[in-house]
């Protein structure tokens, strides 16, 4: 009798937790769906850098930080998915530099964009991240030594990165981060649907589901 009481109570709590989280996730998905329909610019701002065809029907929005390790780890995976579905996916880069000082790297990246070397610079940053941002131990000096590999003019970047327009981009993105409740990087939304549980497989499934919905057959 005593054992049953404690056992059943424990089970009730576990079930309440499971159903509660299920319910919450459904509510969230609905809320984000509504936000994506009503307020699309929360996900894609005019200033946002994008990759992929203009006609793509699947928007993969990534809230990231060039100094974030998991973002770097996901980069090749996303390239792979995009290559496997040519013309169907559009990648939108948004910034979420949560760590102190991380916004400087966003500024460098945006300054490189002014030279038309955005993706090259991002590639170099991700590939060499363990050198200049190992476990968020930032060593900007090391990055400056590496950056010429992306074919950018370093002196120009040093000047451009303090452009108030860049600070404004970061400010807007951080405001959207708050509105969309992005807590960790990378934070993914596929056509406004948030990635509920994190992982390669889950992201792949979410993208695939949206591909199937947008491109039947």
């Amino acid at each position: 009798m005593k054992y049953a009481l404690v056992g059943i109570t424990g089970l009730v709590l576990v079930l309440a937790f499971v159903f509660g989280s299920q319910y919450y996730k459904e509510q969230q998905a609905e809320k984000y769906g509504f936000m994506a329909a009503e307020n699309a610019e929360l996900f894609v701002r005019e200033h946002s850098q994008t990759l992929g065809s203009e006609d793509a029907k699947v928007y993969l929005v990534e809230f990231m930080d060039p100094a974030c390790e998991t973002c770097a780890a996901f980069a090749p995976f996303i390239k792979q998915i995009m290559a496997a579905n040519p013309g169907k996916i559009k990648l939108v880069i948004r910034y979420a530099p949560f760590h102190e000082g991380a916004d400087n790297f966003v500024k460098i990246l945006e300054a490189a964009r002014m030279q038309g070397k955005y993706w090259e610079t991002l590639d170099v940053m991700f590939q060499t991240q363990n050198v200049w941002a190992s476990h968020h131990n930032y060593q900007p000096a090391r990055l400056w030594d590496i950056l010429p590999r992306a074919g950018v003019d370093i002196e120009q970047i040093r000047k451009d990165m303090h452009d108030p327009a860049i600070a404004k981009i970061i400010e807007q993105d951080m405001a959207d981060v708050k509105a969309l409740n992005v807590q960790k990087t990378p934070g993914y939304f596929v056509n406004g649907k948030p990635l509920q549980t994190f992982g390669y497989r889950q992201l792949h499934a979410l993208i695939q589901a949206e591909l199937n919905a947008q491109y039947p057959n």
């Binding site: 005593k2 009481l5 404690v6 109570t9 424990g10 937790f17 989280s21 919450y24 409740n181 807590q183």
Partner: protein
């Protein structure tokens, strides 16, 4: 004078209530952090450290029959948790100034996530749970030392 059987039963029920309270608190705490993704601050972590083991300590004291030594093992944890929660509540309410708080990095301990009925904060819920536990354990201690 109640019969010994009834006394033992009531003791068991009181301890069961303690167990129920910590189990519900722990479930809510994990729900906040893993589902609603409220990041626990440093002080929250200390309270969780005092809270989580109580589930197992209380459960061990319930079987096979009520064991009064559970009081001795559980009281230090509940008092420590209660004091941390009290400090946290005061900090949150602004009664203790925030600049002397130990958690400058990560999530601020005064970050507002949720307030039930507009004023019941998470630290307050924690303080309520811990002080109820202390009260229940003191009642049990009195009852068993007679």
């Amino acid at each position: 004078m109640p019969s010994p059987d009834k006394t033992a039963n009531l003791n068991w029920t009181l301890l069961f209530l303690c167990w129920l309270l910590v189990s519900v608190s722990a479930t809510i705490s994990i729900f906040f952090s893993s589902v609603l993704e409220y990041q626990p601050c440093v002080l929250c972590w200390y309270q969780r450290i005092f809270l989580f083991p109580l589930i197992f300590i209380f459960a061990a004291g319930l079987f096979p029959a009520f064991d009064k030594s559970v009081i001795k093992y559980a009281l230090p944890l509940t008092i420590a948790g209660g004091l941390t929660a009290l400090y946290h509540t005061l900090l949150y309410a602004g009664i203790i100034p925030e600049n002397i708080q130990p958690c400058s990095q990560g999530v601020s301990c005064t970050e507002k996530y949720f307030e039930l009925f507009g004023f019941v904060s998470i630290p307050m819920l924690s303080f309520f749970a811990f002080s109820t536990l202390v009260a229940l354990l003191i009642i049990l201690k009195r009852r068993t030392s007679q």
